[in-house]
Symmetry: C2
Subunit: 420 residues, 2 copies
């Protein structure tokens, strides 16, 4: 019995349509390893749950409730945007986390997040050794932005990509119908502050070269008003309409975000706001075309009803693998997805040192962006296409998806309150 | 042979996820009535197709192509925003339409649109009699806004409603995860310039009274900044977060649209734009909560991947019925949906005089809006719930819906060009 330890699982940063599938993978796998892992505690609101000693006892949940995590979007236990201090040395926050782990016999820490979180997991691991209470720290990748290093893709991205490709395909059919007398321009804004993976995925809507979306705007490419407007005009002349997908993070050559810019509308009013309305207005003012725009925002990262089967499977697998490699003795690594170098798409899980992933942002590589900067290459398409395959449709009830709000029961506190 | 006449079908105004299902109903039914109806011509870009004599010959399309219309969003033949003059008397445009009908032996006119279009169909019918070339004019209801009179619901609405309810349910799970340290407010803007049906449908996301969406804003209710902000604050205090769904057409008591208002942001800059960002900023300025907002725009009316089975069936049925009642001798009527007065939801098609529908906007009745103006009543919920039932999922290929762009072949022109 003495080498059975508890585990702590936490979700970090912006959630996705499939982060709970990773949680499901962790918990279901841990339940098959009762000779090694006792209870899996989940942090209420991510790492804050460890700091506040708010630990959800997942062992009290039925197998059915845990299975439902696989198809429920959002972060079942709560996530947070909370960055621990850069240095863990003698920092009371890191010490507190270890104290809570110790109080609850926790020796496994599974942290489901992005690059920042991998850095945190690494530091908690270091601190645990310094305090002579070694905790196995395993990262589990998650981000719709697909910008983590050392993994073929990030769970969460494939489903967001599928949502974007589907939505732009549908909206384009609408615009095609209306172009003769009304809307000629449609601008869709997608997430991606620093990397253009989501904007790139819109290209998967296309069957033919002339199909929408006609123009993709990436944070990796300096935005030029002149080149952009010329391309819009050319597209409308050739196709009758133009569909544009823009990452929220596009910026001018001087580094100014478009969304932070002051554009002046036809009435001389200064306008601040999202990237999509700014682009739409820019086109209207210069070329006179009638436009519509949309900002999908959270819809794109929570649209579990349109999840990619591959994405759900990978999300589950990186959670499952995290438990397996922890038990096998790996430490301070992140589970990853490895694409097999074969003609047909095959993948497996792997692991990489947390230090390789911490605080790195993977942008679109140059050979994924078309020479003119307005589209993707065939190489990029070949990379993206497998990630949106398959429809993993959740159960529906009364016309809407039958998602369960996870209530959870908190484990009894063993320590005094901690102020921070 | 002499009493076999051709038919003209046209799509009008903003398209929907299921308007092509109505087209499918018209064409498939006409193909079973070869003793009455010859060729079904579809107007290229709606009524413009009649004016320009641009008639798509649907008889050249395979049964398979026509069947695919049932699951393809947008307007397959093109729609238009083009309003014929108010008076048809001695107007050359109406005369031209009749001349084109005559040249192509067309004696049936099926017009698939909203209130304006029913008016147009009515006037074309009158003109055809005046010119002694009587054309049977049948309207087919379509609008995501659900604001047509004399029909239980409008095909297109149910699918948009299902999209909105599903999307807000998913986005709310995201906000719930993030509320502790980040986003507390989510504002979703939906269509509805004059009627709040789509905003009302967001309530179908709820399982319990405390669930999102917490606040619905309708064009039917004067917007009060004070009452709104008080309700937002109260909701955040009680629930920890607040999800708001706002119709694009909400306005102050003096009639000014919020979207046309000038709100000043924290930096003193004047801001113009959609209703959602204006509301979000208003909350931030007054209460300080972190927010996200989305504007679904065309996505909500083209999301065929999330169509309601009932909506698709009704869309098909009102198209089918239009052909059947035309052959049976009805004229200048619109097909409609009639809800049976039974406990379990049942419906059938009916017909109503075009004059009853023309240019009427059906707003949310008073007893559908909660006393405080911020939500719907149980009566409204009972009305809405059946309309989003069932998932009519289109075929997928390579991870995205396999919609076909309808190409079509134009019938040879028989008349000289017409300038207008």
């Amino acid at each position: 019995m003495t080498d059975i330890f508890n585990a702590f699982y936490a979700q970090s940063g912006g959630v996705t349509a499939v982060i709970n599938a990773s949680a499901c993978g962790v918990i279901e796998t841990a339940r098959t390893c009762t000779d090694k892992i006792g209870t899996v505690f989940a942090g209420k609101n991510g790492i804050l749950g460890a700091l506040k000693e708010e630990l959800i006892d997942t062992s009290l949940e039925s197998a059915q409730t845990i299975a439902a995590l696989r198809y429920t979007p959002g972060g079942a236990f709560g996530s947070c945007r909370y960055r621990l201090p850069d240095s863990e040395e003698s920092n009371t926050l890191y010490q507190r986390i270890i104290a809570v782990f110790k109080a609850h016999n926790i020796r496994y820490f599974f942290y489901n997040g992005g690059g920042d979180s991998m850095d945190t997991a690494h530091k908690i691991g270091l601190m645990s050794e310094r305090l002579d209470y070694p905790v196995t720290c395993i990262g589990i990748p998650k981000t719709i932005d697909n910008d983590l290093a050392a993994t073929d893709s990030c769970p969460g991205f494939g489903s967001a990509a599928k949502y974007i490709a589907t939505s732009v395909k549908e909206a384009a059919l609408d615009v095609i119908s209306m172009q003769e007398t009304s809307t000629k321009i449609f601008v869709m804004e997608v997430m991606g502050r620093n990397a253009g993976w989501l904007a790139a995925s819109a290209a998967l809507a296309m069957n033919n070269k002339s199909d929408a979306p006609h123009i993709l705007l990436f944070p990796e490419v300096d935005f030029s008003r002149e080149l952009f407007l010329a391309r819009v005009e050319e597209t409308v002349e050739n196709c009758g309409y133009c569909v544009i997908v823009a990452a929220e993070g596009i910026r001018y050559a001087d580094g100014t975000f478009l969304s932070a810019s002051r554009s002046t509308d036809a009435f001389g009013n200064v306008q601040l706001g999202g990237t999509a309305p700014i682009l739409a207005r820019m086109i209207k003012d210069a070329l006179g075309y009638k436009y519509h725009w949309c900002v999908a925002d959270y819809l794109q990262r929570s649209a579990r009803h349109l999840a990619s089967t591959i994405d759900v499977e990978q999300a589950y697998a990186v959670g499952k693998s995290a438990v397996e490699i922890a038990i096998a003795g790996q430490n301070r690594v992140m589970t990853s997805v490895i694409r097999e170098p074969e003609e047909t798409f095959k993948w497996k899980t792997g692991s990489v040192p947390l230090e390789m992933v911490a605080n790195v942002v993977m942008k679109l590589p140059d050979n994924f962006i078309a020479t003119d900067g307005f589209h993707i290459t065939d190489t990029c398409r070949a990379y993206l296409a497998p990630l949106i395959q398959g429809e993993d449709i959740p159960p529906f009830k009364d016309g809407v998806p039958d998602y369960a709000l996870f209530k959870g029961t908190m484990a009894e506190k063993k320590l005094a309150d901690f102020k921070f």
